[in-house]
Symmetry: D2
Subunit: 333 residues, 4 copies
Amino acid sequence: MRFFSDNAAAACPQVMEALTRANRIDTAYDGDEWSQRLDGAFSDLFGKQVRALWVTTGTAANCLGLATLCPPHGAILCHEVAHIEVDEAGAPGFFTHGAKLTLLAGEGAKLSPDGVEEACARVRDDVHQVQPSALSITNATEYGLSYRPDEVAALGEVARRRGLGFHMDGARFANAIAFTGADPADLTWRAGVNVLSFGFVKNGGMNAEALIFFDPAAAEVVPRLRKRAGHLLSKGRYLAAQILAMLENDLWLTNARAANAAAAVLAKAAGNRLIYPVEANELFVRMSAEEVATLFEQGFDFYEWSPDEVRLVTSWDQDMDAVGRLAAAIEAV
Amino acid sequence: MRFFSDNAAAACPQVMEALTRANRIDTAYDGDEWSQRLDGAFSDLFGKQVRALWVTTGTAANCLGLATLCPPHGAILCHEVAHIEVDEAGAPGFFTHGAKLTLLAGEGAKLSPDGVEEACARVRDDVHQVQPSALSITNATEYGLSYRPDEVAALGEVARRRGLGFHMDGARFANAIAFTGADPADLTWRAGVNVLSFGFVKNGGMNAEALIFFDPAAAEVVPRLRKRAGHLLSKGRYLAAQILAMLENDLWLTNARAANAAAAVLAKAAGNRLIYPVEANELFVRMSAEEVATLFEQGFDFYEWSPDEVRLVTSWDQDMDAVGRLAAAIEAV
Amino acid sequence: MRFFSDNAAAACPQVMEALTRANRIDTAYDGDEWSQRLDGAFSDLFGKQVRALWVTTGTAANCLGLATLCPPHGAILCHEVAHIEVDEAGAPGFFTHGAKLTLLAGEGAKLSPDGVEEACARVRDDVHQVQPSALSITNATEYGLSYRPDEVAALGEVARRRGLGFHMDGARFANAIAFTGADPADLTWRAGVNVLSFGFVKNGGMNAEALIFFDPAAAEVVPRLRKRAGHLLSKGRYLAAQILAMLENDLWLTNARAANAAAAVLAKAAGNRLIYPVEANELFVRMSAEEVATLFEQGFDFYEWSPDEVRLVTSWDQDMDAVGRLAAAIEAV
Amino acid sequence: MRFFSDNAAAACPQVMEALTRANRIDTAYDGDEWSQRLDGAFSDLFGKQVRALWVTTGTAANCLGLATLCPPHGAILCHEVAHIEVDEAGAPGFFTHGAKLTLLAGEGAKLSPDGVEEACARVRDDVHQVQPSALSITNATEYGLSYRPDEVAALGEVARRRGLGFHMDGARFANAIAFTGADPADLTWRAGVNVLSFGFVKNGGMNAEALIFFDPAAAEVVPRLRKRAGHLLSKGRYLAAQILAMLENDLWLTNARAANAAAAVLAKAAGNRLIYPVEANELFVRMSAEEVATLFEQGFDFYEWSPDEVRLVTSWDQDMDAVGRLAAAIEAV
């Protein structure tokens, strides 16, 4: 019974069917009909003309996006546990040709407007110091919290004032939308976000993520950067088809709601063991080594985050029976 | 009737079935059972312990490989029409952090040992000049020729003498093996090749290529480079499963033979219009603008390579009836 | 008797005196009074508001300049024997983060407008091919020829039409001005040049070169790039003072004329041994191995360019007596 | 009366004389007699065969050195106020092609062995996290403290155990030696340091710093990196001559002692206003805005480090009379 990572989940049936439908001769790269429909589909979703590109990983989406917001001699402000800092093997440094990540603190992996403002204010405006160029937040955060539209907007306001490009790592954007019920536009471009990495893989996709530019003109160079990074697949239709399948009938939202619902059941059971409120599909739970051992023995599989803390992640296809058993087991230990 | 590019072809049924079989919960990244079997499968094929990694594009395979062979201050010797020079948007410069491509001439996009030797000899061994560090050839070449094992070995000997790492871009490696009947080992590591980009996408795969290191120790850093470039997919099992499906029962060879056979039919029809011998699945054919127009009118689709030259590419799933009709049409114009 | 390289020459007395005068406490980096006067001094010389920065090498000047004209995914068109291609150890790749040098042929290391136009026309405007972004010429060229203003303007016109930034490597700009008698403005910005590396070291300086931006706005990022490349000296006044000393009373021109005059004496002696017209301070002379040996025995020191060709370089401080003796010796062999 | 920065000081007379002596024709780049003597001179000083190269800035020395210790996908551990982090405009990211600086805390800008050990222990050894590759300390530190040999050795031991290359930014190495009286060998290679940036410019030089490799084999690639970064001056003799002049008769030590002595006078006057012990030529002194204003009025010039803190820096040529007056003034406010 797997609560280890949403990356371990299968691809959902609609994605598999879309791959089958797309399995025919078509134009190579992104000249095919599915790829050509991406801009329109996301423009509909966000209520605004956007530019949308497929890539195969969240790291590629994040770093291609950041490369358009930050020059090699600039800095990207992010949380000290941001995925781009902690889990991307230095990819931001690679894609930006050496830009710096400036790390900020913040409860629950969230950034605060004051924190960003102070980080900017600390930098002398001279040639000796790397100047902040971009701001990156993760939503839902690495600790499973969801930003509300007004929180994003407050950060967007600092970004605007300080001349920072604003990127959102939305590996679990669907879960944030599902939890907050926010309009996708309110959580992004209306709040000042310039670029969004919109995750699908953790949410039932196979290997397609979307990179969204809310100003299409700012995306002009991105197809070149994508190709130069080896990320332009020759049979791109199989990526585009996955994404379109998940946009259809708001499948992305249905899947995220299912994952969140499973998390909510576990959250209730975990009660005051919880380190952070559960606002998406991740739980961080205080648990002793013996308690962990007990759960492992019962066949539950999850991540030991630190000596007395575990991480549970639920997926779109989580078996609710197993969820119920884990909930009971947590209450029992 | 499509003769435009083998990138336009569909994925073959065995690949689709493999995706379905792999569609279940498993370990993320490359910890799954399929990914773990790659080293063994390719070691069997090449008769030698190798290290094999999946990536999604030939550009990524080529450039990750080259990055292990050439430092930022080195040069890679390649043909002036090599894919890495002409069609990868500068990706070698990105992955190697600025290494130089030194361009050599050669009939049919083939390099000669003398050409490589002369290029090395021209470089002064001082700090002002970029020193050659790697040699890269494409097999089958960009003009559809296949190197024979002794040709590769002669290049390998120069590489060894000059201290060059030796890379083979095998986007159509299968077609070269199918045409020459060579043992894969003889065409690669026994001939001095260190790194091979083994293409599957043009040959019936969906989006998985293999990067093969014939010295596993030399590959140690590659998983980090792959992750840093955003090429470590979180659900890697879907890539590994494709490759394993194509290795099973030599499907890769069966597919390549089919594509080559279709090309051979067209080659016979093209006769002395052919600019190069047809030794894989690409044909370069002299043809006037009117002749081209005539064929287009008949519903044939292909690439106008230059004002009086066209490129025809056949695929693993080429409709042999259409091939016959195109052959007849070429003979008729 | 040294005819090996103008890099071997001493610094001229006025430069040494300027260093002595500058040897006092002042503001660090480029905040000192000398550095602050550079923009004005060069604006006077070029009859236009320019931005001028000191650096210590021609390679740094060239590559910082090119980095402002060409993105990492772009190409710089230059001659196949351009210093940036042949003698800068891949520095353009380093400073531009991997941009490509596209090499053009051309008599006497000169580029032609047609050659540049054709090189641009050969590139498909798609994401697979690296797009030309900049043009770089050397004046005087690596073979000692000087572009005339109309030649530069014709290249500038192609650059403008093709959207290429235009850089001039002026390591021997002074010699070109001295030879052609052209107005510095006519040979640069009026002819479309955007950035000039203005050499002083080969012409009697110690270790200061000037990097000139004819559009000050385009130079905004350069101070950051210079610092990031470790080229912002903490006691910059010693560089600025050298340059100002050489601008005073047109010392740069006087020095270049002296070097050119010495070359002219040798050119007359070399007669039809000359491979290129002598239009600056370099001579390329056909000479057999025995003839070379004879001259070496007589105490002349120079560069054996190829088996039957030598390069002679004259300097601002060339001993005219030695020049006369070499001229006689050349005529005698 | 300047107490702003040791970068503002003049070059010392012996350096000026050395430039005059070197002002003659010689071999270009680093082929001259002075440059050729550097390895020997520093090998004598350190009691060990070393490789020594001149560069013009501390940033270049630091970053060329670090580039040999840390791959693009690695991390360099340093103090959070290290010059490479705070004042080099991202140069480490440029020279290493994107490596990461991992920032550690520590009193007085000093690192502790435990801090380094903990930073290493925090990193998971997988491909997702950037692995520590190098350790860099500054001696004397940015807050004017000097490491003792046993402190360096303790860090060296962690570096050895963790497989980290060990770099020392010795912009004020002379001041640290002068203060501690340590043998240069004990403070560097005997304590595990691999690479030293040995500063001369702040200590009476004009524009030459030395980059020392204690294992000459590890320096093999450095001349290429130096050239590729535009740091190989064509008339290198003027840099080498400066350094040799400062090594002669231990002038570097004499100059550093003079600067330290001036700082000691001020330290005594500052008494318990001092934020850190004064162990080199920098003082950090608590001082209210009014007190600062008073001193400014009296003609003293220094850096306002923070609202209630000033930095005073003394130089090799500090006027001891002015020092006495400042000391008196500090006691008086």
